[in-house]
Symmetry: C2
Subunit: 254 residues, 2 copies
């Protein structure tokens, strides 16, 4: 920790803080993000790729459906929702993105983005030109491997969500959702049992195929039965095992 601070101080002399900040090599998310599983030497190849950082304010759109696909974004801090708006105006949340996760893979197929991506809080992302990422991944096998892993993870995660949407009842959905969030917070070094929801009941409901009132009711029921404590957006998981029993299922879509 001390060492990192020293490096950052040094950087303020030799180069701008911004330039250093976007170096994957020093990024504290390197075990979650693109560099995961890569050797330090290979990660250095990434440094040149990830040149720009971008701040996105709460409620701002990072990516618009319909816009040309050029960049992937890695979430550095904050969180996002991805949503699809259908022809007839229905708007559905298809995912939530947290730090270290990649945004934009939906655009590869048609060279056009399919989903909107909106910040749930003030956030920061690293922009990665996809064309250059493809190039580099032809030269760096570990990067190629990791890119494939990330895409596969997205595919598998969505399959889990399909099971949730296709066969689970409201309580199972909400329990699965909370446990998924818990796991992701823990993976990022935060508490797995106490956290703040960054999204509204409506967004949770949209994601889980439920109405906001149902989400609220189920959470109140979990509160009454002492599975969780919930007050507005503040969640404490009191009985993880009990929550797990409610889900009755293995695949976690988050």
């Amino acid at each position: 920790m001390q060492a990192i601070i020293e490096i950052q101080r040094a950087s303020e002399i030799t180069c701008t803080a911004k330039e250093l900040a976007v170096r994957c090599t020093n990024c504290n998310l390197r075990e979650l993000c693109l560099p995961q599983g890569m050797t330090p030497e290979d990660v250095q190849r990434l440094n040149g790729l990830v040149t720009t950082r971008k701040r996105v304010k709460k409620g701002e759109r990072l990516q618009h459906a319909g816009e040309a696909f050029k960049l992937l974004y890695a979430v550095r801090s904050g969180s996002f929702k991805t949503c699809i708006t259908t022809e007839d105006g229905r708007d559905q949340v298809t995912g939530f993105k947290m730090s270290g996760e990649l945004i934009g893979l939906d655009g590869i197929e048609t060279n056009t983005h399919i989903v909107d991506v909106i910040a749930l809080e003030d956030s920061e992302v690293c922009a990665i030109p996809f064309a250059r990422l493809e190039e580099t991944s032809r030269e760096v096998a570990s990067l190629q491997k990791q890119l494939h892993r990330i895409m596969s993870r997205e595919i598998v995660g969505e399959q889990g969500l399909m099971v949730l949407l296709g066969s689970m009842r409201a309580e199972e959905r909400v329990a699965t959702f909370l446990l998924g969030l818990s796991r992701r917070f823990r993976a990022r070094g935060y508490s797995a049992t106490e956290f703040h929801l960054r999204m509204t009941r409506e967004e949770i409901g949209s994601y889980l195929g439920l109405k906001l009132e149902t989400v609220s009711r189920v959470m109140s029921r979990f509160h009454e039965t002492k599975l969780i404590q919930i007050k507005q957006k503040h969640v404490v998981i009191l009985n993880p095992k009990g929550l797990k029993d409610v889900t009755g299922i293995a695949i976690s879509p988050l």
Copy 2:
């Protein structure tokens, strides 16, 4: 057509039919499958990769959940369902695969397959060792591009299905499903308005998050209102526009 037959006959003299059959260069699915968008020269690099074909009888399992991931399969003929079995024994169909489509991408992340893949009819697949495909795609940019496109397509398709499962009512789901099948049959040179369902009502229901009785009832209703004609597994789409109106939505998950 005549030309193809000649080539096949010739092959029986110079090499075994099997060896020729697995060459992507001559495959009639090359516009749907991995070779799509690749130059003939690049496709030749695939020929060496796709060495074995495999026949799978109706009801047989091509891929088991939990088994080690080594191969991708491209469907050459027939069709498959992919399903996830959850811890508590629920079984959910997560997709249907038709000719030219790739099976096995779920295994990349963890090196272990997540879904079961079962033949809906007697079918044939080409096996592709994934490690070698990765290698080759580092050398052949067009192959890399196409692999990424296919994975992205899977991601986008699943997002569409999430919208279906999350926000559509029974009639909309079934209508979307039928139109999706129609489109896929047309892409393969078959009639878009008249086809045989390869899957049971129960499998359709599982996929759409409905019970088999609901699927049956909705189809009967569509039959009564002259949108389709349906007798058991034989479908005729009488009024595609009308069906489209029932869905009211743009994104097609199939």
